[in-house]
Symmetry: C2
């Protein structure tokens, strides 16, 4: 029992089964645990609580698993507007015939609405942090503030925009880093080595170093890009990032399906500051060929995290789904049913994905002092029963709606499936109205060309 | 408006968007449709209804898609008891070290409980028909009757049981075919060509022909099985089924990942009565190597349907999930993002899976005269919005809980997520209690050996 003069915490979660460790390919859970949270941080993860905690709010999580909030290491949140608008097409057509012409239509309000809808979707499936790479990022930041999520935001640019592209990306990163009580961090966000010049990559790396942020960029997205780079300039996209100083500055690499063996040492050299994002659902839909070499990257100590990319390619922003598809696929790809255990899958969701964003120890773990980003998952549904293996239930059985409660920075954003920061009806009404004309391509214009690289 | 003397139907679904056709790789939906159901069959799918239908019960499905109930073409329903009990192991260890020793513990009540829990799980995710292949099938039949689902039931046997195995399988098929107002159909269910003798396969085929049912068996589950068969007897497992008359009798083939090019003409010859079940989630988890050659089978006119196998390998009984994984994987495997469209995915879920069970035209379509198995799916969630492409939403975005209402044979089994035929609390209580000791392997016995084949 807490004594009358114990410090009173903001929030306590009692009676939960807590995911307390995922190292060494095994997940360890502690039953009957009490988690206390104050001022946005975990005060204690008490696996042998004595009596009731002293807290202003207490959530009884009996029958639920408490686990670190999920991390989406790379997305284009506002592209929810284009969900389903470019289906069953190859990646070249997807860009040139659909997405880049449609993106001509995207304005500031669209980015706010698209990002806010993405935030609602992510809160509903247990994502507490996302790394976003898009345009009009002040609007994305506004949606982050409205929603209460944590995010790393990068203002995307092409060198075709001229010097203003890089400059605006740097200005955004400088202005917004640390905002929203620290929930917003930033990156410099060149689109990709095939749309951004080496000079601009050098500039991005220098600015990132100066500001203490990362570069967030697409690179070696598939083996075709790698082969084109080798053919046109004799080096891989990862080598381009190395030679321009981007890796040394620290980099979030999306998506790296085209990472070849020679790239691994380059990435390993900077593994304390470089990570690779992996969202296999969309890669399969695009028939991209070989996938991110997770086993080789992991062996070299390079962090890999889950991502959903945008809803225009991945359809959902569901990290649980991408974790599950990754876990299934990795066994098949490596031809070993004992590799990539449920514990490994959960480790990549927590510390692994946190490391990709340079936030290891800050998020992705239920650990004293870390940011209090935690979700409560109900495993009592038929589809999870019986609970012979909790980690397997989380990796292979759980449904998005089993996430009952989502907490970021100690603030409850969803309580028992009720969103507390976003009004469903008004958001959907305005979002649907904008989505009606966002797919118009009759103007004949485009923002970029994919075939030239 | 229905006139006062119109015939009064049992049930009408009004204001739905109906999936009315999936041929030629495209899904067609009709808005504002009224579906009327009487005596377990669709009376009309009225895409231009005039006025309110005359029906004893009317369900307003505004904002929902009505689509054919999903079909699980191969499972071992009662194995829900073993969900999560044999994770991250190769298939040989899975059988020999876990499943077959644990199955020593399975008794009649376990099969009832395991199947009823499976039924509850399937109703919740929109499955209306399942093909089951297990033991104590009278108990599975009882669970089918309790739940209200439709099922094709086969009593599994090994030749190691002696003549009683086949005889019992035949007796079950004869006794139970057509029961439960026709919702139960049956199969003869030899386990596999590597555990059942050719003589018993011949006997199974003869009995199936006599009874007008199919043989339901595992064959060519992976390329290893095919290669072992080729090495030990010079012919493939599919060829064994052909030579023993099983294909001619009609056969549900699970899982066919080891089907080789030379097998295709054998299957194509009997394509009016043979189909292949496909449940990729479990295959990936087992790292089974090449997957069912869906493109080749489809080109040869051989039906392919979705399945979940048992929850001990697949973890869930979610056909939507296996449809989604199949759709993603097929593009990647065939190296063509334009193949296996959302429409194709939905076609395989409906007429394709129905054909595997020999029930094309009877289930799997919203069509006048067909069995009234229909589900209502809510696409208003954030993760499905905006609805630029309804088929893509169903194939790639929808969550199990978006299935709001499940109807079998015109009877509502789940209404707005409330199960009407199964009591959740009492089922879970007894199921969990049995599941506690079902995994005991201390007895040192087993029901079969996998390594010898």
């Amino acid at each position: 029992m807490a004594s009358p003069d114990s410090p009173v915490a903001d929030l306590a979660i009692v009676n939960c089964t807590a995911l307390i460790d995922t190292s060494a390919g095994r997940a360890r859970f502690a039953p009957d645990t009490t988690i206390t949270i104050d001022q946005g941080r975990f005060v204690s993860i008490d696996t042998h609580p004595e009596g009731a905690p002293a807290a202003r709010e207490v959530i009884d999580a009996r029958g639920m698993v408490a686990m670190p909030g999920l991390i989406n290491t790379h997305c284009h949140a506002a592209m929810t507007l284009f969900r389903g608008a470019a289906e069953d097409v190859a990646v070249t057509n997807w860009f040139n015939d659909y997405i880049w012409p449609m993106e001509v239509n995207v304005g500031e309000r669209d980015v706010y609405l698209g990002t806010l809808l993405a935030a609602a979707e992510m809160i509903e499936c247990g994502v507490t942090t996302f790394a976003d790479h898009y345009f009009f990022m002040e609007q994305a930041a506004a949606a982050v503030m409205t929603s209460g999520l944590r995010a790393n935001l990068g203002s995307a640019f092409f060198s075709s925009q001229g010097p203003v592209g890089l400059a605006a990306s740097v200005a955004f990163a400088e202005e917004w880093n640390g905002r929203a009580d620290g929930r917003i961090t930033t990156s410099i966000a060149p689109h990709a080595p095939y749309t951004v010049s080496d000079d601009d990559l050098v500039g991005a790396a220098e600015a990132a170093t100066r500001l203490g942020v990362k570069v967030h960029t697409h690179a070696a997205e598939d083996i075709v890009q790698t082969n084109k780079s080798l053919a046109s300039r004799g080096i891989t996209p990862i080598d381009v990032l190395d030679r321009t100083g981007v890796l040394e500055a620290g980099c979030i690499v999306a998506h790296g399906n085209g990472i070849v063996p020679g790239d691994i040492p380059l990435l390993a050299k900077w593994r304390d500051r470089v990570g690779v994002t992996h969202g296999p659902k969309g890669y399969l839909k695009f028939a991209l060929g070989p996938l991110t070499p997770i086993m080789d990257l992991t062996a070299a100590g390079v962090p890999v995290g889950y991502c959903t990319d945008g809803a225009a390619s991945n359809n959902t922003l569901d990290i649980l789904e991408n974790m599950r598809v990754t876990a299934c696929l990795q066994k098949q790809i490596v031809d070993d049913a004992t590799w990539f255990t449920s514990g490994t899958a959960l480790h990549m969701a927590g510390p692994g994905s946190a490391a990709v964003l340079g936030m290891k120890g800050q998020i992705g773990e239920l650990r004293q002092g870390a940011a209090a980003d935690v979700i409560l998952v109900d495993l009592s549904g038929f589809h999870c029963q019986p609970l012979h293996d909790i980690a397997a239930a989380l990796a292979y059985s759980v449904q998005p709606t089993d996430v009952r409660t989502t907490i970021v920075d100690g603030r409850v954003l969803m309580r028992d499936r009720e969103l507390l920061t976003i009004d469903r009806t008004s958001l959907l009404a305005e979002f649907r109205e904008r989505a009606r004309w966002i797919t118009d391509r009759s103007h004949g214009r485009t923002i970029q060309d994919y075939t030239a690289h």
